[in-house]
């Protein structure tokens, strides 16, 4: 039960400024995802909330209590690390109960708590194993168990899925989402993967160069990106940008481009382009084509019959186009 408020936060290492004047209000029980390219300051921000990094200026509050000078253990938070940080010499039970033992909880209570968490995460059979005897996905669960067992006010996740293969990542993503519904606790999740951000978040915070570029629900940031950076970062494949002579940039997503022959649009703009690469993905086919020297990526139906080198007529759905000014901001 806790909101997290960051007001006017700055962080610098010597002369290098990592985060400048950042404000962020995270609501109670919200699942917030911090996303951005590497070096954008998202992990630093998370570590400042955790108390693992000092803040240079500003104020951090958790549950309306200022925590700037509180040790990590006094902030009522738990964190899941990218490499899981499971203690290799302890078995799963000891790993999960470490925090409870550190807080001098009675043995019987520790047992109850560990078993409850092991039940939820389906790791009851693993309690006597060492981390080295676990698969990646199992380690991930144990790391979550260690975080959950203390019933913290806020969960912090630092790229927890980046060491897993694609299939496992997808299933763990679903589990984390389920976990959020079960425990109803504020969660702050850092990732560089926009798919994770889109699927998990109540609200996404997109960061670049130490600044927040946009905050919004997944659909908001996708449908109405605040600037060209957000537009390019969210969505895969990346949005196409076509610069006009007056400095305005037109942005159009690959899925808003159709083959002219099969399109029936009211506000369509037709262009002729030469296909350079065809990437069939099964359900859909990606077309990389050049129009007037500009690269355009189109996401088309999977059943088209086009080869590289052919000239095609594409229709851009202008009702779904985005316009950005000279400064990159949405017009």
């Amino acid at each position: 039960m806790a909101s997290v408020t960051l007001s006017d936060i700055s962080k610098s290492y010597g002369k290098v400024s990592v985060i400048e004047h950042l404000d962020l209000e995270i609501r109670d029980k919200e699942f917030i995802v911090l996303v951005g390219p590497s070096g954008c300051g998202k992990s630093t921000l998370l570590r400042m909330i955790a108390g693992l990094e000092d803040i240079t200026a500003g104020k951090i509050s958790i549950a309306e209590r200022m925590v700037n000078n509180l040790e990590p253990r006094d902030r009522d938070i738990a964190m899941v690390f990218q490499n899981y940080a499971l203690y290799p010499h302890m078995n799963v039970y000891k790993n999960i109960s470490f925090g409870l033992r550190a807080r001098k909880m009675a043995k019987a209570d520790i047992d109850t708590h560990v078993n409850r968490v092991a039940e939820i995460l389906d790791i009851k059979d693993l309690l006597n194993r060492k981390p080295s005897e676990l698969s990646g996905g199992q380690r991930q669960r144990v790391a979550m168990g260690r975080a959950m067992v203390r019933n913290p006010a806020v969960f912090l996740f630092d790229e927890p899925l980046s060491n897993l293969d694609a299939k496992l990542r997808a299933s763990m993503r679903a589990e984390i989402k389920k976990l959020h519904r079960t425990v109803e606790t504020t969660m702050i999740y850092v990732t560089h993967d926009q798919v994770e951000a889109m699927t998990l978040a109540d609200r996404i915070v997109i960061m670049d160069q130490g600044k927040i570029q946009q905050i919004g629900t997944p659909m908001e940031v996708y449908q109405a990106p605040a600037n060209q950076f957000v537009a390019g970062f969210i969505g895969s494949p990346e949005m196409n940008f076509i610069k006009s002579r007056d400095g305005i940039t037109l942005g159009i997503r690959p899925e808003d481009i159709y083959l002219a022959e099969s399109a029936t649009l009211d506000k369509g703009k037709n262009v002729k382009a030469v296909v350079e690469v065809v990437e069939p993905l099964g359900a859909e086919t990606l077309l990389i084509a050049f129009y007037d020297g500009i690269k355009i990526t189109a996401k088309l139906n999977g059943l088209i019959d086009i080869e590289a080198g052919m000239e095609v007529k594409l229709t851009l759905d202008m009702s779904r186009a985005h316009l950005f000014g000279k400064d990159g901001e949405r017009v």
Binding site: F81, Q82, Y87, H89, F98
Partner: protein, 291 residues
């Protein structure tokens, strides 16, 4: 020839050099010592086979037992003291950013200094007033003067101190490498989990350092069991006195071999030392590694 075979031949070509070296310079003399220990030999004359007579003489020699006792005293005091000291220093140095390199160098320099020079400087430290520094300081503090190397009870610790000090630099560097190898995230996770400094030390740092501790215990045990330079250079005439109070086994072997030329006797003692080293090392590896 297959690629695997070619590689194996190349590897063996390289390995054969140290293998030949070890056979000629290490293993052969060791095995030879076993056979010499069963003879009476004065290094130039003929070896006479006398069976286990040397060992029987050792068994009935009170000086040998005293020397053996001294050797174990060096071991049992030296290993724990040096390991605890070096761990404390390494752990503290690990937290220090300012002057880190300089401090580390300060601790490492004694390891590079010759034992002879160091022993003589320490010998001078231990002198009575007005020459000896330590007694000078004690005197100024109004504390009773200590006899150090002249006392049968104080001499052994007095010789041990520079031996510990000399090896400290090496142990610190190894400990620091071990500490550096522990991922930072373990400490961060523990801090978030609410563990205090002592719990982190006991439950994370020390268990993680286990291989380092095993290595240093074995290496320093062997070192203290073979202590020689400091004793030879710090005691009167290199006798390991007063009254054999500081004489370790290796010095005793040296005296038998190169002053009395009782090569058989010296070899017998070498065999005893070999067996002791072997058993202690195996024991330590078994106990400390069982995980």
């Amino acid at each position: 020839m297959s690629i695997g075979k070619k590689r194996a031949i190349t590897a063996w070509c390289f390995i054969s050099v140290p293998i030949i070296y070890f056979i000629l310079v290490r293993f052969y003399p060791t095995l030879d010592a076993f056979s010499i220990s069963l003879t009476d030999w004065n290094i130039v004359g003929k070896k006479t086979y006398i069976g286990f007579d040397n060992f029987i003489r050792l068994w009935h020699d009170p000086v040998f037992w005293q020397v053996l006792g001294n050797t174990f005293e060096y071991l049992l005091l030296g290993v724990p003291i040096s390991l605890i000291l070096s761990f404390i220093i390494a752990h503290s140095l690990d937290q220090v950013r300012f002057g880190h390199g300089f401090l580390r160098a300060c601790y490492f320099i004694p390891f590079l200094t010759t034992a002879v020079a160091m022993a003589w400087v320490w010998r001078w430290f231990y002198q009575p007033v007005p020459v000896g520094m330590i007694n000078l300081v004690l005197g100024q503090l109004g504390i009773k003067q200590l006899d150090f190397l002249r006392s049968t009870t104080e001499a052994l610790p007095a010789v041990l101190a520079p031996a510990i000090w000399a090896g400290l630099g090496f142990q610190i560097v190894i400990f620091m490498a071990g500490l550096r190898a522990i991922p930072q995230s373990y400490y961060e996770a523990a801090k978030i989990d609410g563990a205090g400094a002592f719990r982190i030390l006991r439950e994370i740092t020390l268990p993680q350092l286990r291989p380092t501790i095993v290595f240093l215990t074995v290496i320093s045990s062997i070192g203290f069991l073979r202590i020689f330079d400091q004793v030879y250079n710090m005691t009167q005439e290199g006798e390991g006195g007063p009254l054999n109070a500081t004489r370790p086994l290796v010095l005793h072997i040296y005296k038998a071999a190169f002053e009395r030329f009782e090569m058989g006797m010296a070899a017998a003692q070498t065999v005893v030392l070999f067996v002791i080293l072997l058993f202690i090392t195996i024991f330590q590896l078994k106990v400390l590694k069982n995980d």
